[in-house]
């Protein structure tokens, strides 16, 4: 297993460098090469120009430039952004990254759990009204033009029903809790009091980011605790009744602990505000990838249901639910798991649209904003980051698949 992982990691690193080189070629292929691109642009601070010339070695031959480019990127030294000049590209990207991960991880996990459950049941109840209804909805959600669907969701939930805020990341005003303004802004936020008092701004407010990071970390810890408890219980406890009780107990414990932590925390209202803003984007993303998971699970289940061991299980009188959940769904899981991880990679592409429509300040919006303001270092940095994320997703998919299916491990 370790040998397999080491081999895959090695391949990924090689591919990543090829990808970086491709980025350089793309940059160089622009109308007028890199050295000409920005010289005449008055919007770029002269220091930024000089920094770019120094970093890439623009007065040197192309292969040295390429080498410098690769060297800079492997040390996360992606230069300074042009549009937000003194800030480093890596700084901007790493503050935006958790927001994107939060959105997509939540949506993907939700979609996977719900979609697998629906797909399993639908495959079991073939040719019923339920199946037809679920299939119709899923095919619609799967083929719908995503930006249009997102806009309609935004209109329906934020304007028509008026349940959720329209886009953006946070709205809560600092003035509602004046006691917090000083402490938070002085200790954590590195901004002056007057700026902070004007409220949260979506893109650059470091304060929002700090609260968000706390929320993000607690969510990650909660998720790991939840699945960790399930995993341990499944391994250690053999009796199904105790198992079920422990599952319920663990879920209540983790969820209760999470809620309790945020109720007692002084950032609670801010965290809730961020959460409230993320409801529509998460819902939209979940619905679309839920449809995909359902369709795939159904196909995969139908295939496993044809296997001989299902017939054997039926013949010896195993209950239907056990056949469905233990014999069939387990084997149907393989392709669904891979697609889940790969979906994480492709969803970043769709994420650009989601973040644009819901004004969610993640990687996608940073990327579009950088492109529209011709901020080449930031654009390239964001694209490189999207590439890395895709590579990591593929790596995780490979490892997960090898873990689930021993045949792949043996072949290498």
């Amino acid at each position: 297993m370790w040998k397999f992982i080491a081999k895959r990691v090695g391949q990924m690193i090689v591919l990543f460098y090829i990808f970086l080189a491709l980025l350089f070629v793309l940059l160089d292929l622009q109308p007028g090469d890199i050295s000409q691109q920005f010289v005449g642009n008055p919007d770029i601070p002269p220091e930024a120009k000089q920094l770019m010339i120094d970093q890439l070695g623009l007065d040197e031959p192309k292969h040295i430039q390429l080498f410098n480019h690769l060297k800079n990127y492997s040390t996360f030294n992606m230069g300074a952004s042009w549009s937000q000049y003194p800030r480093d590209v890596s700084d901007i990207l790493f503050s935006a990254l958790p927001r994107t991960i939060y959105l997509f991880l939540t949506a993907t996990i939700l979609a996977y759990i719900l979609g697998f459950w629906t797909g399993k049941i639908v495959a079991w109840k073939r040719n019923t009204a339920t199946e037809k209804a679920v299939m119709g909805t899923s095919i619609f959600l799967w083929t719908v033009f995503y930006p249009w669907f997102a806009i309609l969701m935004l209109w329906f939930f934020a304007a028509y029903l008026d349940w959720f805020p329209v886009g953006k990341f946070v709205t809560l005003n600092f003035e509602s809790r004046p006691d917090l303004v000083n402490s938070i802004s002085d200790v954590l936020f590195r901004t002056s009091g007057s700026e902070a008092a004007s409220g949260w701004t979506s893109s650059a407010a470091p304060g929002a980011n700090d609260v968000f990071m706390l929320l993000f970390t607690s969510l990650i810890v909660g998720t790991i605790a939840f699945f960790g408890i399930r995993w341990i219980v499944k391994r250690q406890v053999k009796d199904p009744t105790t198992q079920a009780r422990l599952f319920t107990g663990g879920t209540v414990l983790v969820f209760g602990g999470f809620v309790l932590y945020w109720i007692t925390n002084e950032y609670g209202p801010w965290a809730f505000d961020i959460f409230w803003h993320s409801v529509i984007p998460v819902m939209t993303l979940t619905l679309v990838s839920y449809a995909g998971t359902t369709l795939l699970t159904r196909t995969s289940m139908i295939e496993t249901l044809k296997e001989d061991y299902i017939l054997t299980a039926r013949a010896k009188g195993v209950p239907d639910v056990t056949i469905r959940d233990r014999h069939s769904a387990r084997n149907a899981m393989l392709p669904v798991t891979t697609s889940l991880v790969l979906a994480l990679a492709t969803v970043i592409g769709g994420g650009i649209i989601t973040e644009q429509i819901f004004s969610w300040p993640g990687i996608g919006q940073t990327y579009l904003a950088a492109l529209s303001s011709e901020d080449i270092p930031l654009t390239m940095g964001a694209l490189a980051l999207i590439g890395i994320l895709a590579l990591i997703a593929h790596l995780v998919a490979d490892i997960l698949y090898a873990y689930l299916d021993p045949r792949i491990r043996v072949q290498g």
Partner: protein, 378 residues
């Protein structure tokens, strides 16, 4: 070909005289027979037929546009331009009453300020890349069928452009782009797949690593940066989408198909008979891969339309008019949150993109059952 038919039998060489009918006729008959057989399988799938109906409907829409422009929309000049021109047409005198943000009906003269207010209220970031509209700001007019100088059957957009005309023109654009992308994608995928399968070795490794790389890079961000750096028109965009998707998963599937063809005896026979590598790849392997290629071409159309509409929606393309641009205009002009009050801005265009790609997707799914017998047996 025709002279083959009239040729007297005595003139033909000894070997060919046995078969009186010319070769092309036999081929045609075989083709017709296999087509009828495949059609039977295809027609059993109701979804595929529905998809075909949708595609035909959009085809009619695309054909209808120039006809409408020449007949019922002809001669509606205003300021030197035809009001119904899908690209530059603008009906400045909008129908007397228009819908405003809160749903009231008021006089159009007071509207400009309110449109801007609506834009402010949405709090949405407006993409400022690419398309810049210079037409005077008018208001979206609801559908009017008669009683005005220029009737708009599906209303107008915020700039006074006729929605129906744009919608029909969009169908043309969608077909042009979809087919350019699909054909170039399949050409590249077939070439890469067959060559990699036939030659193997270093060529195979190089091509397949390139394919791996293309699969790894998310397509949309890459195309966004490409369209940000270069001005792409519809055909160029189609080719770029075709190249990026043709070097992806399709190439691998076609390669595995080509590998299974390569080991069949007739390839050895062709080689023994002295066929060159090029001829074997082109004449013997490619025809056996083509049904699968055609299937992936159908899937390719769906992907291409989706990408084009997304890029247009983000305002990154320099193309004249498309469904994506129609949604982009409605969105950037601040009509997002009015939803069904101004349904003619978003619903026709969005539903068109959805239906168009769904149509090709459904046809492709049904064709999959024809090409791949394993899916057929239930």
């Amino acid at each position: 070909m025709a002279d083959l038919l009239t040729k007297p039998e005595g003139d033909a060489p000894e070997g060919e005289a046995i078969i009186a009918t010319p070769l092309w006729r036999i081929r045609l008959r075989l083709f017709r027979r296999s087509f009828a057989r495949n059609w039977k399988i295809f027609a059993q799938n109701k979804m595929g037929l529905a998809g075909l109906a949708i595609i035909v409907l959009f085809g009619l829409m695309a054909i209808a546009h120039p006809i409408f422009m020449a007949t019922i929309w002809d001669g509606h000049e205003e300021g030197g331009k035809n009001v119904y021109d899908p690209r530059a047409g603008a009906d400045a005198v909008i129908v007397e009453k228009t819908v405003v943000p809160d749903g009231e009906i008021t006089d159009p003269t007071t509207q400009i300020g309110q449109t801007e207010a609506a834009l402010q209220g949405t709090g949405l970031v407006i993409p400022e890349v690419g398309t810049v509209m210079t037409a005077p700001l008018a208001n979206p007019a609801p559908p009017v069928i008669s009683g005005v100088p220029h009737p708009h059957w599906l209303g107008t957009d915020p700039f006074g452009g006729d929605i129906l005309s744009q919608l029909l023109f969009g169908a043309r654009a969608a077909f042009a782009l979809g087919f350019t992308a699909a054909i170039s994608s399949v050409l590249i995928a077939t070439a890469v797949g067959t060559v990699a399968a036939y030659y193997g070795g270093v060529i195979d490794t190089l091509l397949m690593r390139l394919v791996d790389l293309m699969i790894l890079i998310p397509a949309l961000p890459l195309l966004i940066v490409i369209s940000g750096f270069w001005d792409l028109d519809l055909i160029k965009l189609g080719i770029v989408i075709g190249v990026t998707s043709g070097l992806g998963g399709t190439a691998i599937i076609l390669k595995s198909q080509a590998l299974s063809v390569k080991v069949r005896p007739f390839i050895d026979a062709a080689r023994v008979a002295g066929g060159s590598d090029f001829r074997i790849v082109l004449q013997h392997i490619t025809p056996n891969v083509l049904p699968l290629s055609f299937l992936y071409m159908m899937f390719g159309v769906t992907a291409a339309i989706f990408i084009e509409a997304s890029l247009s929606f983000l305002g990154l393309l320099a193309i004249d008019q498309s469904w994506g641009i129609m949604i982009n205009i409605a969105h950037t002009q601040g009509y997002t949150l009015q939803g069904l009050q101004v349904w003619w801005l978003m619903i026709p265009a969005g539903a068109s993109v959805t239906l168009f790609s769904a149509g090709f997707f459904m046809v492709a799914r049904a064709m999959d059952e024809v090409v791949n017998p394993r899916l057929r047996a239930r």
